[in-house]
Amino acid sequence: MLRYLLQRLLATIPVLLVVAVSVFLLLRLTPGDPAAIIAGDNASDEQIERIRDGLGLEKPLAAQFVLWAGKVLRGDLGESFFFKKTVAQLIGQRLQPTVALSLCTLFLSVLVAVPLGVLAALRHGSWLDRLLMGFATLGFSIPVFVLGYLLMWLVSLKLGWLPVQGYRRLQEGFWPFVRHLVLPCVTLSVVYSPLIARVTRASVSEALTEDYVRTARAKGLPAWRVVLRHALPNAAVPIVTIIGVGLGLLLGGVVVTESVFSIPGLGRLTVEAVLARDFPTIQGLILLSSVTYVLLNLMVDLSYPLLDPRIRFK
């Protein structure tokens, strides 16, 4: 067990290293003076000079990377000249909406997709199964922003049930917070849950063909107990895996969703930073989302032995 944990932990190190090198190279491989690019279009010469000293541009590339990575490890992501703040401050300010949106979407998607996937597996090949999987393909294909505008038009503009755009902090009251979050969450879930539903269906249908399921049915257990006690636990590993892999999709989808619904989170910050060509911020955001993705998938990996004791012995 301990060996498995260590193995997984060690395996993330090269991945994180590659992410860091890619983010670092993103700026260095661009034609032009990195210091001038970081400073933006309207910086003074002495500002550029100061940035150049901080980057250690006169040293070899590897040394520059070590210098940069050292700062990042100490939590110093650099300074945004466009927003006139440090990148860490910026991210801190914009973190709450994005975390709220992602967590709600994650819960909603799992809550909807897993039961529907199980249902499709139980009725494998029936019209219900085909209908659900048809919806899954549709949900997977419809762009987040098209669906977002459609829901906004229908629910907010025509029916007037929910606020059109914007975001309220949790501190401003629970009810406004929820009301502003419903549409973005539903929108993003429609895209995210088909992935989970498809894998749940495939994984559960396979488990349902196993002997122990037949035995359980034969000894008179009701169908729902067989699914909950026998089929689902044995089908859990691929489902949890796809939830982890899908997080990449979710983190990308957040950028678009926040833009549609004018939510002042990290996704909007990304777009603003890109439009302003504010590279320290872009680097910080990519680094943050990639590290989040890697760490969450590490947690998924670490949960395998809990879900399936057989994995421990491999």
Binding site: P14, V15, L16, L17, V18, V19, V21, S22, V23, L26, L27, T30, T137, L138, F140, S141, I142, P143, V144, F145, V146, Y149, L150, M152, W153, L157, V191, R198, V199, A202, G248, L249, L251, G252, G253, V255, V256, S259, T270, V271, V274, L275, R277, F279, I282, L285, I286, S289, S290, Y293, V294, N297
Partner: protein, 278 residues
């Protein structure tokens, strides 16, 4: 069904000049924000005015939305196909080497794992920001995040193919490595690759529209589905049709390519499951 829809869309955008007489870039203040199905006077490039039915209305500059959508379809389909071809090509080359040469494998796959950890759309957005947007930079920026997935697929295929008896036989009679890869391994990876290619194509069409919608993609004066929606959202409250019609075309196109992929998978390779980004 996916293939038919796709052919229709491709035909419609290729035949755009014959399907509509309206110039997609023509600014006409007299025809601003017309609702779908309005009759109006259209100025032709020759300067004369003719009555014209604006099937899907006009945008806030008085440009015919139907005609802009048709021309926008060209960009979407070209980007989709180009990204699919490029990422398959690059992924195939890298995957073959990774799968066949043990030393390359370890390093290359770690690099690919790392690249895959960066959310695709974020990577594409920042690459476009670095290079300043044009259709080529958009194509490359959408290709780079797709390559690792293709490499992984090719590598896993090669790993299973190299255990096959016919590969052993070829090695035994002294076939060179390059020859072996091209003549024996490559043909057997094609079926799943074509399936993956169609998913990549769908993801690329979507990705291009997302970049356009966020305002960081192909320059806004070019009519693309994403750009049309980005322009339309300013006046979304009054004129939702300027957002919805390009959105419908986009959804139908992505759905068609995905269905095509599902169909190909079912006929060519039932084991293989889907992936993508949003």
């Amino acid at each position: 069904m996916g293939a038919t829809t796709l052919v229709l869309l491709a035909l419609a955008s290729w035949c755009a000049p014959w399907l509509t007489s309206a110039d997609p870039t023509l600014l006409d203040p007299a025809n601003r924000d017309l609702l779908p199905g309005t009759m109006g006077l259209l100025t032709l490039s020759s300067g004369e005015t003719v009555p014209h039915l604006f099937r899907l209305g006009t945008d806030s500059y008085g440009r015919d939305i139907f005609s802009r959508i048709l021309y926008g379809g060209r960009v979407s389909l070209v980007v989709g196909v180009a990204v699919a071809m490029l990422s398959l090509g690059a992924g195939l080359a890298l995957g073959l080497f990774a799968g066949y040469l043990r030393g390359v494998d370890l390093v290359l796959m770690r690099v690919m794992d790392g690249l895959m950890a960066i959310p695709g759309i974020l990577l594409a957005v920042s690459l476009v920001a670095l290079w300043r947007a044009s259709i080529w930079t958009v194509i490359i920026a959408l290709t780079i995040p797709e390559v690792p997935r293709v490499v992984r697929l090719v590598r896993s295929l090669v790993l299973s193919i190299r255990e096959e008896p016919y590969v052993e036989a070829a090695v035994a009679v002294g076939t060179s490595t390059v020859n072996l890869l091209v003549r024996h391994v490559l043909p057997n990876t094609l079926a799943p690759l074509i399936v993956q290619g169609s998913y990549v194509c769908a993801a690329a069409i979507l990705g291009e529209a997302i970049l356009g919608f966020l305002g960081v993609g192909i320059p806004p004066e070019v009519a693309t589905w994403g750009n049309l929606m980005a322009e339309g959202r300013v006046q979304f409250n009054q004129y939702p049709h300027a957002v919805f019609f390009p959105g419908i075309f986009l959804t139908v196109a992505v759905l068609a390519v995905n269905l095509l992929g599902d169909g190909l998978r079912d006929t060519l390779d039932p084991r293989f499951s889907r992936r993508g980004w949003q």
